[in-house]
């Protein structure tokens, strides 16, 4: 047993007072959870502390909170681990963000989380005819959407979504991960309609700022941002939807610029994102408007010689010609193939054996004699990142 101090953010809506911090010292074994700590505080000191909780085993999704500023499940966070992230040795527990607070650690999920989930038509729209028995579906398809299905609707991803912070109407990680569960289900009849809807919505799949917060927050490995990217892949790759938000054009322009020049040509990227992926993209009205809008910036850039006129008009030539040819041929080879080859580590896990002979570097930054694979954890992530 050890002592831990919890600082809990309290708010009593009936008191008329502002929120305040409430501190309690509990004692439990270090590997017990923050939730158990809070429940002990409730049991021993103050039963009015409000927190939703039920299963204690990270499956019901009730106890989403922020611990030391990071979103997660209270039942899933060990006290000793939380202590490490604590300022001045006190573990801070606050309600989740991006959602209105009802009382103490309890937030109004209906107002934000569930509202967004309902936005994505979260039920199967059957492909007809419905078979008498089961639909015949390839094994890997079902395993694939199990990652989205693993979502327990805890709200941790919504809590800290940075896009939602500046754009509250963003549909958000939880709802979009749920949308993938249907878009990726071969039994659903409306894959095209679903992705088109979400691609065209200005607060849809192209409103995600790609910040990885939701991947970091999720206690179940759902990786919502990855699901959003898969929705984008379906929208552009499968259905070639040229959305009004410039998402497809941006992606298309980026890809073709790197294909042709080996590097990104920023000056072309912007106009093509608006006007379309070709040399003439910049002459399209949308691109013209954007260029006009950016004139002050362009002017200043030229003035300060951050960008020379040459740099703006001529493509980058830092990569030697023959290397550029190699790169272009790689693009053509991979894109030219019909079959799409993707590796989802959530499903496939990591190789078991050390394969020491194949390891290139002597792992100078890693401890002697251990490669990342040897110390790897099954299924979730390697204990050691590839960068160590």
């Amino acid at each position: 047993m050890a002592e831990f101090t919890l600082r809990i953010r309290r708010w009593d809506p009936e008191s008329g007072e502002a929120p305040y911090w409430d501190q309690h010292t509990i004692d439990l074994e270090p590997h017990r959870s923050v939730l158990e700590g809070i429940l002990q505080a409730k049991a021993r000191f103050d039963g009015s502390i409000g927190i939703r909780c039920s299963c204690r085993a990270a499956i019901c999704g009730s106890c989403g909170v922020r611990i030391n500023g990071q979103p997660g499940l209270a039942c899933h966070t060990h006290l000793d681990h939380a202590l490490k992230g604590a300022k001045d040795g006190v573990i801070e527990v606050e309600p989740m963000g991006n959602m209105p607070i009802i009382k103490d650690l309890i937030v109004d999920m209906d107002a934000v989380h569930w509202k967004k989930v309902q936005r994505v038509t979260p039920w199967l729209i059957n492909k007809e005819p419905i078979p008498e028995r089961e639909y015949i579906v390839p094994h890997h398809n079902m395993v694939d959407i199990t990652q989205s299905m693993a979502c327990i609707q805890c709200g941790a991803c919504v809590s800290d979504c940075l896009s939602m912070e500046v754009d509250p109407e963003f549909i958000g990680p939880a709802a979009l991960a749920k949308a993938y569960r249907f878009a990726g289900d071969p039994r659903d009849a409306q894959q095209f309609e679903r992705v088109k809807d979400l691609a065209e919505d200005p607060h849809g799949i192209y409103d995600c700022t790609h910040c990885f917060k939701c991947i970091e927050a999720c206690p179940k490995g759902v990786a919502p941002m990855n699901q959003i990217m898969r929705l984008r892949r379906i929208a552009t790759g499968t259905h070639h939807i040229a959305d009004r938000n410039n998402g497809e054009r941006h992606e298309s322009a980026f890809v073709s610029l790197v294909r042709d020049h080996g590097l990104l040509w920023e000056a072309e990227l912007l106009p093509r994102s608006y006007g379309g992926d070709s040399f003439f993209g910049k002459f399209a009205p949308k691109a013209g408007m954007e260029l006009l809008d950016s004139l002050p910036v362009i002017a200043r850039g030229l003035l300060r010689r951050k960008v020379t006129p040459g740099k703006a008009i001529m493509p980058p030539r830092d990569v030697p010609k023959d290397a550029r040819e190699e790169i272009k041929r790689i693009f053509e080879k991979v894109e030219g193939r019909d079959e799409v080859r993707e590796l989802n580590l959530y499903i496939s896990g990591y190789d078991e054996d050390a394969e020491g002979a194949e390891t290139a570097s002597a792992s100078s930054a890693a401890p002697q004699g251990q490669t990342s694979a040897e110390r790897g954890q099954p299924g979730m992530s390697p204990e050691e990142s590839p960068t160590r």
Partner: protein, 565 residues
């Protein structure tokens, strides 16, 4: 005052399924839940759902396995219905979108499970309960115009009119503290089990026996209350469940001598014998000094024998649990488990339509009910099935019955009484015991005397303790005096429910002087069909003591025989 044809209390699998079935049958439906529906404990069910869908399988085989699993206490008419309707229900689930795993041919894959004579468990990795629950909720969102949802509403009482009919309930909006009477032509109880009477338990904090106690309170009969399932593989650390699916995939149970001791107890089915058999085997090994762990109170579950790729695909949750709660990589080392309280076979007595005898208008489905399809012991993956089959049947029957019936007249007497009761609890002076203390003592007592092995002395001790705690609960005080989200006062009410349920359990266990299924009496170690092939019913006497009676077991095809695995 909300009024509906069908009122459903509890939004787990049984409740949600009942709501959808009733709505489809044209009834006006309300569903109440004290937590958001997807937080219901059905979400924790892992391993799978049984159905004889394989073309090589027959529902009769499934039924026989269930009857045998129940140690012949199950009512065979109900079991036949459940097993016969199972394939249709699983296909229905598939059609509304449950993401069942496939085999190489793209058909539903089936895994092995405890007590089953062949592979007939459909599954979604090891999150089957979650998958089905979330898909049912998707349907409720789809049909939001047909089903009124009251999420985070706590039911305080059922209402019985002067003619003895159940006409609705009183419930509290947890968010605002506002209390309302809900009128309904039919009320379906679906609040689940009562694992919180035991400590530790695999059950969530919300499993406080609400429905069982509320039915008991208005005079409905409870049945088979002594039958408490101890799941063989719960984490020694904290009582968390490790799904039977692990053993279904081939995992072994080992004692301190490294032997697969199930050979001694169930040489044919080994680790996949019925749960009561496995739990008793483990407990015996532990009691006889062959347990593992620092105090020898555990048993090793060895999943390293299952191919790693398969573990990642089909047992992902256990990988997480092992890592997060026990610091163990289950693909490389065994994990320590022991038997833990998990399920209650007993509950509110019902017929095969979910109707509660003696209380017209009252239904029950799911773990809260006792039809009985599980008898003395439930097979793994039969609970998910039970909830859906009888949830559907209750919903359909209630909807049908509601046609042409007038909405009952309900006074606000119960509402007033409940409001007063809550006010009294809040006002209690701080000189009694704390609610949490009483709950802890209850749980420890039940786990000590009413567990895998029981005897008269222990049961009497338990009964005495429960009655003492009931007295103390009357003056137990709480801290929260507010109205917004007052979880404290609800905890005090739940404590009352748990104590009622605990008493019924102990009384029934004392009454059955026999060992059958999950009940093992060291003073009566043999099964005794001559005297005890019958159900024990409990109902409330006017003066708050449980009254015992018996009812017969329905036998159709299968005469009781010796039960060997």
């Amino acid at each position: 005052m909300p009024e509906h044809d069908v009122l459903i209390i509890g939004a787990g699998l049984a409740g949600q399924r009942a709501a959808l079935a009733a709505a489809e049958a044209g009834a006006t439906v309300a569903i109440l839940s004290k937590v958001h529906p997807v937080r219901s404990h059905s979400v924790a069910a892992a391993g799978g759902i049984n159905a004889a869908i394989s073309l090589d399988d027959r529902w009769e085989s499934h039924a026989y396995d269930t009857v045998k699993g129940s140690d012949f206490l199950g009512d065979q008419d109900a079991i036949e219905i459940m097993c016969r309707e199972a394939p249709g229900e699983v296909m229905h689930l598939e059609h509304i979108g449950v993401t069942f795993h496939r085999n190489e041919k793209g058909e539903l894959d089936l895994r092995a499970f405890g007590g089953a004579s062949m592979k007939r468990t459909a599954y979604v990795a090891d999150i089957t309960g979650q998958a089905i629950l979330h898909v049912l909720y998707e349907q409720l969102m789809k049909y939001h115009e047909r089903v009124d949802r009251f999420e985070e509403w706590f039911t305080t009482s059922l209402i019985r009119d002067d003619d003895g009919r159940c006409v609705g309930c009183v419930a509290r909006d947890i968010r605002t503290g506002d209390m309302q009477t809900f009128k309904a032509k039919a009320t379906i109880l679906a609040q689940g089990g009562a694992g919180q009477c035991f400590k530790p338990t695999t059950n969530a904090l919300i499993c406080t026996g609400d429905g069982i106690a509320q039915a008991y309170e208005i005079g409905a009969p409870l049945m088979d209350m002594e039958m408490i399932q101890y799941h063989p593989t719960t984490l020694v650390e904290n009582g968390f469940l490790i799904t039977e699916g692990a053993r279904g995939e081939g995992a072994h149970l080992l004692n301190s001598e490294g032997e697969r001791f199930m050979e001694k107890y169930a040489p044919n089915k080994m680790e996949l014998a019925s749960r009561d058999v496995v739990s008793r085997a483990e407990q015996t090994e532990i009691n006889e000094g062959r347990g593992v762990g620092p105090d020898g109170s555990g048993i090793y579950l060895d999943i390293t024998v299952v191919p790693r790729k398969r573990v990642l695909e089909a047992l992902r949750e256990i990988v997480n649990i092992g890592k997060d709660f026990a610091g163990v990589d289950i693909t490389r080392e065994p994990i320590m488990i022991r038997p833990g309280q998990h399920y209650i076979m007993g509950g509110v007595k019902t017929d095969v339509h979910g109707q509660v005898p003696g209380v017209p208008g009252l239904y029950a489905a799911g773990e809260v009910a006792c039809v009985s399809v599980h008898g003395g012991n439930r097979l793994g993956a039969n609970s998910l099935l039970d909830t859906l089959i009888f949830g559907r049947r209750s919903g359909e029957h209630a909807a049908e019955r509601a046609k042409g019936m007038p909405i009952p007249k309900v006074s606000d007497a119960q509402l007033k009484a409940d409001i007063a009761r809550i006010d009294r609890i809040i006002a209690r002076p701080r000189d009694g015991r704390r609610v949490s203390e009483i709950k802890d003592e209850l749980g420890t007592t039940m786990n000590r005397y009413v567990a895998v092995f029981r005897d008269e002395a222990g049961l009497l001790q338990a009964h005495e303790t429960v009655r003492r705690l009931k007295e103390q609960a009357k003056t137990a005080y709480i801290d929260d005096r507010g109205t917004v989200f007052n979880q404290d006062v609800l905890g005090a009410i739940e404590l009352g429910y748990m104590l009622d349920v605990a008493e019924a359990i102990v009384v029934a266990a004392l009454e059955r002087k026999e060992s059958r299924g999950a009940q093992f009496r060291t003073d009566f170690p043999e099964r005794n069909d001559d005297e005890w092939l019958k159900h024990i019913d409990i109902s409330r006497n006017g003066d708050d003591t449980p009254q015992v009676s018996y009812s017969p077991v329905t036998i159709t095809q299968w005469q009781p025989e010796e039960r060997k695995y």
